[in-house]
Symmetry: D3
Subunit: 69 residues, 6 copies
């Protein structure tokens, strides 16, 4: 199994909330992991980051794809 | 600071790769965290998940928004 | 009409399911078509693809934009 | 293998174009398939669709995730 | 022309920057407009918004689809 | 506060519609602003744009992230 995506995190189902069309799942991530972000070089320059800096990684839940392998 | 998103993970910059229009940043996530996924109820039913099940959470790097608070 | 997107597929409405805020439409695609994917060069290298290889193209329904021309 | 997504189309690699950070893959889809779209109920009402109607499905290439199973 | 999307803003091309695989366009939006956001009800509750409140609407450039009508 | 995104527009809450899992917020944007779009260079070439051209910018509501600073 190989995914064309930088982020492939192992999570454990914590809760499920079922709606009419959309539903939400919450997961626990217990192990340290690596994440990748792609952004415009212009945005990168504005952020002015260097290794070791701490940032907040914001991801809308709709962009998280669960796969049962 | 309040974000209209379920996922707001703290990450530490590990490496930066600068391109012409787009760039990539890699982050280390060292603390356990919670993640949320929204999907169609149809997809949820097909996955047939229950609390405790382990899944792979796949996220394209383009959907990860770094914020320097 | 010109769209700034690689994928512009003709589909025929098959079913509609209406919800409170979000709704779902299913379409039949009957003609062969071409699709484009953009991913990080790192992900491309990991996939190790060559012309003729068969892959699964996964797209969350939320990313499909119907346009009535 | 179960994906938390409505669209899981089989494609054959046609061409690959490698860039500095991002790359593009083109695929041939030869078999008829079904696609799902999720949109707001407000947008659905404006589109005023009924079964059999033909629409254009626009998807940015960045939202297409290739998986090698 | 009817789009299955809440946001359909008129913009005027200001600058174009061409890259190897991806390119960036900047637009001027001169007229007042309305924008819609869909988020989880959980996120909405956390934001605790009421009519008249001012917020920042953050949108990655990759999610903006230009259409030449 | 620095966001890794090109679009950071100030909006005023106009209406809120709460659903079971997802909710929708409408905003008024009263000031002129700049927006950025990232697309493939191939799509850019097809659009054949030059400074001053008027286009429609289509954004699904799900991609708009409200932040309360």
């Amino acid at each position: 199994m190989k995914y064309g995506a930088r982020n492939k995190i192992v999570g454990k189902v914590k809760s499920i909330k079922k709606g009419d069309i959309m539903s939400m799942i919450k997961f626990d991530i217990s192990d340290p992991c690596e994440m990748g972000s792609v952004l415009t070089t212009e945005s990168l320059d504005e952020l002015n980051l260097k290794p070791g800096d701490e940032v907040r990684l914001v991801i809308k839940a709709i962009h998280v794809l669960p796969v049962k392998e």
